[in-house]
Structures are given as structure tokens and as C-alpha cells.
């Protein structure tokens, strides 16, 4: 695949070294190009890219609040339509907190109304901007500052909310999961999403060096491990057709993924086994 040279997210933003969120945006915008308007929810991405009087965005950008990116994007999309600019790609970015928790209602409304937009949830599995609190997307067993491991706690006690399938239940034409460690797969999906007439949703796994606890140089490696272990499956649902887009030839044991990150380091054998079982079931269900 040819990667366009042009960048629409300038370097020098304030993300941590090794931040995967910046990669999500760079890759998505390389694909969607100049003719794009971006909407973002409050979160690391918005905070690190828009410190006034600077901005990292080379395409038009708007942020309003934490819980409403879906609705703001709805307004932008209809205003473009009112001006006869239906060819503009409308892309909303929200973190997992801004998408699966506080912003869920707003996204649901946008999807239901059928706006012509792409919503990309960059999922680092916690509220990173405020210092690593759990979200509905935090996986079972992960230690965060509001689901800490302790003498009577093994960390997060709920499984991850299955947001892509919640989006699928809206009957929208395009849904996909992705990983920053598989850029071609992701960009292919952004292409399909932006070319889709109607709402599209992409949920991309984004390793976070600060929140997950790993060396900044390992971002891509960890994202890949997530996919190779089956912890994070890659698939798409196009007009109701489900398709796995990447199948690891041999699934690695999930412990390899878990031991690479500080947020799981407190887990004992029993917990690891439970997670392996969860992953096995998930893979079986999806045919991976």
C-alpha cells in the first residue's frame, strides 16, 4: 500500500513520547486527506493538540466538550450539507471515555439519525487525560487509579464494554475494529468508512505508554501483541456482513501481552487464566 506523504497533524504536539493517539490521527487523516473536518471530544488528543495559541491541526478542527462529539459532528455534517459541501469528510475522534461512557448517548443519536460521518474511537482503555481512571472500556483485571489493585481488589472487576457490537446494533452501514500496529488495515477501513454514505464507526486500539506502563519505544510492539494474542480482534461489518480482516497464524498466549504492561503486573495465575479463557471464548465466537 502507498502511504500518502502529506501530514495533517503537525509534529510538536504535546502527546507523551510514544503516544499511539497521535498515530491514530496521522493515519486516518493521511487517508481522508485535506477535504476533511475534524471534531474531537475532550481528552488527551484534544488537550495535546490544541494548546492556544498553537494547534497541531492542518485541517479544520472543533472541540466543544467531553460528552457531545457525536452531536457536534451531526451539526457540522448538516451545515456542510446545507452549503452543498456533501463531499467533505466529517470525522469525529473520541477517546474510550468520551465514546463508550459519557458520550454514548450522543453517538447513538448520531448513528440512529444516519448522518454521513465517521466516528473513530481511539481506545486506550482508560481516562488518560485525567490520570488513568477506569472507563467502560477498561479490560477486566487492569489496575487503574479508580480500580486499583489492593489487598481486597484485583483491579477492574467488569469486562470491557463491547462498543463495536453496540454500534452494530444500530444497523449502520460500516463498523470496524482496528489497531495502530496494522496501519494498512486501519487505513483501508478509514477509506471504506469515509466512502460509506451514512454513519461509520471505527474502534481502534491505541496503546498508551503512560497509562499502560511500558517503554515509549514499544507502542507498536504492544499493539501487535494485543492482536497476535487475540486480545484485540480485527474485523469489519460492512452492510451487515461480518468479516475478520486479520487472523494471527498462531495465537500467542495472552500472558505475553499481560506481562508487557504495568497495569496487569499484579495479576496472579488464576486471573491470567480467567483472561485467557475470556479471550478464547471471544476468538471462538468471532471465528479467529
Amino acid at each position: 500500500m502507498d502511504f500518502p506523504k502529506e501530514e495533517f497533524l503537525a509534529p510538536g504536539h504535546r502527546g507523551c513520547a510514544g503516544c499511539g493517539a497521535a498515530l491514530v490521527v496521522r493515519l486516518a487523516l493521511k487517508q481522508s486527506g485535506k477535504n476533511t473536518v475534524v471534531i474531537a471530544a475532550t481528552g488527551c488528543l484534544e488537550v495535546m493538540t490544541t494548546p492556544y495559541p498553537e494547534t497541531a491541526w492542518e485541517v479544520p478542527f472543533i472541540h466543544v466538550a467531553f460528552e457531545n462529539a457525536g452531536a457536534v459532528a451531526s451539526g457540522v455534517e448538516r451545515a456542510l450539507k446545507a452549503q452543498g459541501k456533501e463531499d467533505v469528510n466529517v470525522i469525529a475522534f473520541g477517546g474510550d471515555g468520551g465514546s463508550v461512557d459519557i458520550g454514548l448517548q450522543s453517538i447513538s443519536g448520531a448513528m440512529e439519525r444516519g448522518h454521513n460521518l465517521t466516528y473513530i474511537c481511539y481506545d486506550n482503555e482508560a481516562y488518560m487525560n485525567t490520570g488513568i481512571q477506569r472507563s467502560g472500556a477498561t479490560p477486566w483485571g487492569a489496575s487503574t487509579t479508580t480500580s486499583p489493585s489492593g489487598s481486597v481488589s484485583y483491579g477492574e472487576d467488569k469486562p470491557k464494554k463491547n462498543m463495536p457490537m453496540i454500534m452494530a446494533a444500530h444497523g449502520i452501514p460500516y463498523i470496524a475494529t482496528a489497531s495502530i500496529s496494522y496501519p494498512e488495515d486501519f487505513m483501508q477501513k478509514v477509506k471504506k468508512a469515509t466512502e460509506t454514505k451514512g454513519p461509520a464507526y471505527i474502534h481502534i486500539n491505541q496503546p498508551c505508554t503512560t497509562g499502560w506502563g511500558f517503554e515509549p519505544a514499544k507502542t507498536i510492539e504492544i499493539g501487535r501483541l494485543g492482536v497476535e494474542t487475540g486480545f484485540w480482534p480485527l474485523y469489519e461489518i460492512e452492510n451487515g456482513e461480518f468479516r475478520v480482516t486479520y487472523r494471527p497464524t498462531e495465537r500467542k498466549p495472552v500472558v505475553e501481552y499481560l506481562k508487557s504492561q504495568k497495569r496487569f503486573k499484579h495479576l496472579g495465575e488464576d486471573e491470567v487464566e480467567k483472561i485467557q479463557e475470556y479471550v478464547d471464548n471471544q476468538c471462538e465466537e468471532l471465528g479467529i
Binding site: T42, E46, V47, Y52, H63, V64, A65, F66, E67, D101, I102, L104, Y127, T130, G131, Q133, R134, G136, T145, T146, S147, P148, S149, G150, S151, V152, S153
Partner: protein, 383 residues
């Protein structure tokens, strides 16, 4: 009692631990997140037996708090800025439903533009919701006011929610020596909550949160007004009992050298600590100045304020909020309650802009030689 060095968020969390709320729904937001985190640690380590609900938004935090409180248990939550704004709708519901919830608010500016630094616009904007509002100057006072708030809110003559506000970062993130009371003393001051009126209980079914027509609506609103007025005495009594048990004194206002002052600076929260130091310095230079800090903003201690300022000729209101074109809220409140004084308003420190001694000297200068009533300090004004 144990004296320890800690931040104000830790002090508040200790108050919550000692008050033992049965339900704590909470959502993270800077600079109040630490309270959610400390409580999570207490729960993870078995130090606090509470139902800690990790909700998905502040609207849900306050809604869950109302649900819990209406089911007859002690309830706490904490937030700041955008979170408080997102609760706005249900804050009014909490007061109207007479749910004695206690909430901590770290005062932070509100968007747009997005800024996480301190001012008091977030809580001031909620002043008409029917909540009691207290503004603490430091972590110790925040701890004390949090404990007192439970007692006052749950009092059968009040039954209103209470908000304890502290300046974000300036206080939330500052380490200071805090005297953490013993559990048995707190238990004496704050026995378990026993709701007087009915709550959600299958044994005695009641309907909570009814729809009413004009025949009843106004009476319910008036009920909040009466409770707010009655709370003054309840707060004073609670402060007396607090002093007896813990030895620390609190009041609805704090005054400093007001008796013979010609100009009195009036404000809320931590800025008054800066002013207090400067009052001494200014007095050495021959300025007859004093300081009045409003601790209880709702109920508004009109009588006490009038008494304290009776000998002054000018009041310089220093505040970190603005009702555009009309000055700040404290200024407007003082205009309504204090007669026969020249009251000048100073909007300062919005979004955390530094308030230094020279800022306060400028306030003094502009109070002595006023050119207008509403003054923005620290920016170039467009005349």
C-alpha cells in the same frame, strides 16, 4: 487526632472516610480526581465499606446520588467545573427533592476556552439550585466543612444538599498540615443518618419526584427557601458542637480587622488568605483596611456581614466569577443586602491568572479613587 501533611483532596477524602457514606457515585475530573482515587484506594484496601459507583458521567453521578439519598442513606460525591456544569439539571432536582447529598467541588474555570485552572464560576453559576454552598480557605477547613455539611444537610429542619468548594490547584494540590479527627469523635459529632421522612422502601411505599401543577409547585419551591433560611441557625449550632468536640472554631464569615476599617476587602476562598497578610502590611502604611471572607455563600449571612461592615465606608469585592455586564455574583448579593456603602467590584484571577500582592494593591488604589463600579483586574480594559 493525628496531624499529618497532606493535600486538600486528601483532607477531604479523610472527611469522607470518617463520615462513612453508604453510597459514593463519582466521576473523575481535574483537579478533583484525587478524591475519587483516594476513595477507590480506601475501598480496594478495605478501609471504607461503601458502595462506590464508578458512573459514566457526572449527570449520572448526581442522578445516582439522588437515587441513593432518596433511598434513605448518606451519600457523597465530588466534582469540578465541566462536571458540575453537566450536573446542572439534576442539582436543582436534588434540592427540590430535599436530598441531603454532600458534594465537594474543586473550583475551576469553565469552557470555552477550555482551561483547567482556578476560578469560581463553576459553583457560583449553581447558586440558584437550592444547594448550601461553603467556600473553604484550606484543606483543614475543607475537611471540617465536609463533616459539618453532612450534619447540617441531614438535619430535619434543613434537608438540603450541600457543596463544599475549594480553589482548584491553589488548595487542592497544596500540601499543608491537617489535623485528622479520630473516628470516635466523628461518630459522636455525626451519628449515622436516620431519615425522618419516608424514602423508597417497599414496607412503606411513597412516590418521590412527583409531577405537580401550579397549585403545589410554588409551595415546594418555598419549602426550599424556608429550609435555606433555617439552615443558618443549624449551621451555627453545628459549628458550636464542632468546637466542643474538635476544638476548632468556624463561622459563616471570617473577619479580620474590620472593626475600625474604612475599606473592607470581601471575597470567597483562598484569595482571602493573601488579602489577610496584605491587610497588616497596608495598615503599617497607614491604610485603614480589613478583610471579610464569606465562608457560607448559601445561606448568605446577610446579618453577620452587615454587622461586620457597619463602620466601613467602602467595600471592595474581590471575586473570581462574572455575570457579563453586571459584575460578579458576590457584588450583586452585597448590593442587595448592604445599604449605605460604596461597593466596588473587582473581577480577578479568572482561569487561574495569578493574584499577587500588587493585584490587591491595585484593588486598594482603585477603591480609594474609583473610576467605575465593575473592574477587571489583570487585563487591559476596553474603556
Amino acid at each position: 487526632m493525628t496531624k499529618k501533611v497532606m493535600t486538600a483532596t486528601a483532607a477531604i477524602s479523610n472527611a469522607v472516610r470518617l463520615a462513612k457514606p453508604d453510597v459514593i457515585p463519582v466521576y473523575p475530573i481535574t483537579p478533583m480526581t484525587k478524591v475519587a482515587e483516594y476513595i477507590a484506594d480506601y475501598v480496594a484496601n478495605g478501609e471504607l465499606d461503601t458502595e462506590y459507583i464508578r458512573v459514566e458521567s457526572e449527570h449520572s453521578a448526581m442522578s445516582a446520588a439522588i437515587g441513593a439519598s432518596s433511598t434513605g442513606v448518606r451519600t457523597y460525591t465530588a466534582t469540578s467545573s465541566q462536571g458540575l456544569m453537566y450536573m446542572h439539571e439534576v442539582l436543582f432536582a436534588a434540592a427540590g427533592m430535599r436530598a441531603p447529598i454532600v458534594m465537594g467541588d474543586a473550583n475551576r474555570s469553565i469552557s470555552s476556552p477550555l482551561c483547567i485552572m482556578n476560578d469560581q464560576q463553576d459553583s457560583i453559576t449553581q447558586r440558584d439550585a437550592g444547594w448550601m454552598q461553603f467556600y473553604a480557605k484550606d484543606g483543614q477547613e475543607a475537611l471540617d466543612l465536609t463533616l459539618t455539611s453532612f450534619k447540617v444537610a441531614e438535619n430535619e429542619n434543613v434537608l438540603l444538599p450541600a457543596m463544599v468548594c475549594i480553589d482548584g490547584f491553589i488548595i487542592t494540590h497544596t500540601n499543608e498540615i491537617v489535623d485528622v479527627p479520630e473516628q470516635e469523635d466523628v461518630d459522636r459529632f455525626l451519628p449515622p443518618y436516620v431519615p425522618k421522612y419516608s424514602y423508597l422502601d417497599p414496607e412503606k411505599p411513597v412516590t418521590v419526584g412527583s409531577m405537580t401543577d401550579s397549585k403545589y409547585y410554588m409551595d415546594a419551591r418555598y419549602g426550599v427557601e424556608v429550609a435555606m433560611n433555617k439552615s443558618v441557625k443549624v449551621i451555627e449550632d453545628a459549628f458550636k458542637e464542632f468546637k466542643d468536640i474538635f476544638g476548632r472554631e468556624h463561622d459563616l464569615i471570617e473577619t479580620y480587622k474590620c472593626e475600625d476599617a474604612d475599606i473592607i476587602f470581601i471575597g470567597l476562598g483562598s484569595v482571602c488568605s493573601t488579602v489577610k497578610v496584605l491587610v497588616d502590611e497596608m495598615r503599617e502604611k497607614g491604610e485603614k483596611v480589613g478583610m471579610l471572607r464569606v465562608v457560607s455563600y448559601r445561606p448568605f449571612p446577610s446579618e453577620k456581614i452587615n454587622e461586620a461592615v457597619k463602620n466601613a465606608s467602602k467595600l471592595a469585592v474581590i471575586e473570581k466569577d462574572i455575570s457579563f455586564g453586571m459584575g460578579g455574583a458576590l457584588y450583586q448579593d452585597l448590593k442587595t443586602t448592604v445599604e449605605g456603602k460604596e461597593i466596588i467590584d473587582f473581577v480577578i484571577g479568572l482561569g487561574g491568572r495569578d493574584i499577587t500582592p500588587s493585584t490587591i494593591y491595585e484593588v486598594l488604589e482603585r477603591t480609594k479613587n474609583p473610576s467605575k463600579i465593575i473592574n477587571w483586574i489583570g487585563i487591559e480594559e476596553d474603556d
